[in-house]
Amino acid sequence: MSTDIKPAIDDLVRAVEATLFAAEQPLTAEQISTHLGKADVRAALEELQGHYEGRGVRLVERGKRWHFETAPDLAHLLRREKEEARRLSRAATEVLAIVAYHEPVSRAEIEAIRGVQTAKGTLDVLMEAGWVRVVGRREVPGRPVIYATTSEFLAHFGLSSLKELPGVDELRAAGLLDPVDDEMIGEALRPQPVETSDEPPDTEYDE
């Protein structure tokens, strides 16, 4: 049906295109290569990325994984209302930002920055969304668990790597991403004064 003259497309490029189109998950270059019998797919990926530039679909790399996605400027045509329903709380978005900009971080470090205790569920929500995971323990007394973001986080927010986080360079230059020091953690975790409001209401009383 097509009548225009097109350069014959390389078989490897076609294979990479088909593989990524068919894949249910973003794939690393190594996974694609393995799938295609160990071929070197770097050049093919770049050619494809160039080919799709400006089209309704584009090829992107997110945390070393490649996938096709719709062009962001078409969002208004494609947006699905139901996806909007699930919004993160302010606490959860803040914790997510802190993990992304400071990773890996412990819970105590997150709390030191926020100045409040982080409810148990907040990190769970982020882990359930697949954006945050436990990446080990900090080798300090108590060996606290430390958290970092995942490649799904990068994919979801359209970042190739953490270097693309909004304003990350300026924040680092201003010293606002410096590691949280012990003093700060100490302040945040100082034992709390007993709060009377935490006690169960007194239900027994005489007339």
Partner: protein, 270 residues
């Protein structure tokens, strides 16, 4: 007096997937709803923002005043303040008085340094709050951009490459042949002393003597067929069972002084 910028964490300041509307509501009822803040640092940050200057240039004294006013108002309205707000208020009051002292009378660490640290903490929190907002406003997968709706999927099917050696093949045939050969079971006749003959022999010998006799003494003398070791073992075993049987029926007394020691018997006269 040492009072560090104590920012105790307030519990329950979090909720999971909803908070947006609440933040809106809070702005309108600022002076009434103290519970809406996620701890004193959150309140301080908001008050700092009201100065409408860069967080790096806020006036700490002004900020302290605003916070203290706020706490006083809340108390006047008899709102119950969480303890950490009061701790922060006390510390800020201390910081204010220290800042107002002449330089030479200021305590260590210097109030300027404490103020700077507080300012840095507000900046850090402010930066993260803005970063979170910018992150959330990005083109997000599943909301603004979409993956392929119906991917065919990639599947790797594992196929076996079967291995078998010549030896295994031939050995297996040997096994089959051996297994399928007709099997003939031959039961060899053995020379044994039966229990009946042992009982007869032991009781008749006990009838002769009243003395203790060792079990081995009941065995036939080793000549002719009785030199056969298997037969002797059989005779010993049968004689032992015979001795037990006779003891059970009250015809003999049985003694063994120690484990594996000689077993001796004597007839019981009734």
């Amino acid at each position: 007096m040492e009072l560090p910028p104590d920012l105790p964490a307030s519990p329950g300041g979090d909720d999971s997937w909803d908070g947006e509307e609440r933040a809106e509501a809070r702005k309108e009822t600022l002076h009434l709803e103290i519970d809406g803040w996620e701890g004193p640092l959150d309140l301080l940050l908001d008050l700092a923002r009201r100065q409408k200057v860069d967080l790096r240039r806020i006036s700490i004294l002004e900020l302290v005043d605003a916070y203290l006013t706020y706490v006083e108002e809340a108390e006047a309205l008899r709102l119950e303040l969480a303890a950490d707000y009061l701790v922060m208020a006390a510390w800020l009051a201390y910081l204010k008085s220290a800042l107002l002292l002449p330089k030479e009378e200021q305590p260590d660490p210097s109030p300027e340094e404490l103020a700077m640290r507080l300012q840095l903490r507000l900046q850090r929190l402010g930066a993260m709050r803005e970063a979170a907002a910018r992150l959330m406003a990005r083109d997000r997968l599943g909301r603004d951009v979409f993956l392929r709706g119906a991917p065919e999927g990639l599947r790797v099917e594992r196929k076996a490459r079967w291995q078998c050696s010549w030896y295994d093949l031939v050995r297996s045939y040997g096994d089959v042949k051996v297994r399928s050969q007709p099997v003939v079971h031959m039961v060899r006749e053995r020379m044994v002393m039966t229990l009946d003959s042992a009982i007869a022999r032991v009781s008749s010998m006990l009838g002769i003597t009243l003395e203790w006799m060792e079990l081995r003494d009941f065995l036939p003398p080793a000549h002719d067929a009785w030199t056969n070791e298997q037969l002797r073992r059989s005779a010993l075993a049968s004689s032992f069972v015979a001795a037990l049987e006779l003891a059970r029926t009250g015809k003999v007394e049985l003694v063994q002084e120690y484990t594996f020691g000689p077993l001796r018997l004597k007839a019981l006269r009734s």
